[in-house]
């Protein structure tokens, strides 16, 4: 067994990139005014 940890698999990198993009989209949408519930005309 090697003494150094194995490199991160490619699927983990792809997963990480998709995850970061999704987080950025949510933050972008939030900043653009599509905040969760914030655009509700009036709360009961």
């Amino acid at each position: 067994m090697s003494r150094t940890p194995p490199e991160m698999p490619r699927w983990v990198k792809v997963f990480g990139i998709i995850f970061i993009v999704l987080i950025l989209i949510v933050i972008g949408a939030h900043l653009a005014g599509f905040n969760f519930g914030g655009h509700m005309p009036h709360m009961p």
């Binding site: 940890p5 991160m8 509700m40 005309p41 009961p44």
Partner: protein, 178 residues
């Protein structure tokens, strides 16, 4: 963990995870009907159904795998933080639950609004948000289930270190029976 108990927890975990996926698929269908239908009665029924499914099916099913998953992984050699696929599943489950909890209020709002009046153009962004958020959640849960079936290779540095330590420990133990 004993074999019988492990099988029982695994059965519960699969049931909760697949049930959650199915319930979210039902939610997506109702969100699309609520968005596309012109009939106020159908729209009201769709959003009422969405709220009921969310509170009594999706919400409990989203928290249940957060209990059975860690029990299962910590009770077996897989561990909770040793493999990337388990970490990814945990991340998907935690985030999906957070997104669901964040959307509880807007779901209630739509249900109440559709029951009392015809929805206006001001409600449209919220209706769109329901379709988009639930579709993303459906895809995320599908990915989580695929990860659980395929178990793609890849050990975290923590998992690798633990395995390395365990091997060193085994090698340093005096062999019995020679």
């Amino acid at each position: 963990m004993k074999r019988g108990l492990r099988k029982f927890v695994l059965s519960l975990h699969i049931t909760f995870a697949v049930g959650w996926l199915g319930a979210v698929a039902g939610f997506v269908a109702l969100a699309i009907v609520g968005l596309k239908s012109q009939d106020p009665q159908i729209v009201g029924s769709a959003y009422l159904g969405m709220e009921l499914i969310t509170r009594f099916v999706i919400l409990p099913l989203s928290f249940a795998p957060l209990i059975t998953g860690p029990i299962l992984s910590l009770g077996t050699p897989w561990g909770l933080l040793r493999h990337y696929w388990i970490l990814a599943k945990l991340l998907i489950t935690v985030l999906s639950t957070i997104v669901l909890v964040i959307h509880l209020q807007p779901i209630s709002y739509l249900s109440n609004a559709a029951a009392n009046r015809t929805l206006s153009s001001a409600d449209f962004p919220l209706q769109i948000q329901m379709v988009v958020a639930s579709t993303v959640a459906l895809i995320a849960l599908l990915v989580a289930n695929i990860l659980a079936v395929y178990k793609p290779k890849g050990m975290t540095p923590y998992g690798w270190r633990k395995q390395y330590e365990e091997r060193l420990q085994l090698e340093s133990q005096p062999e019995v029976g020679r």
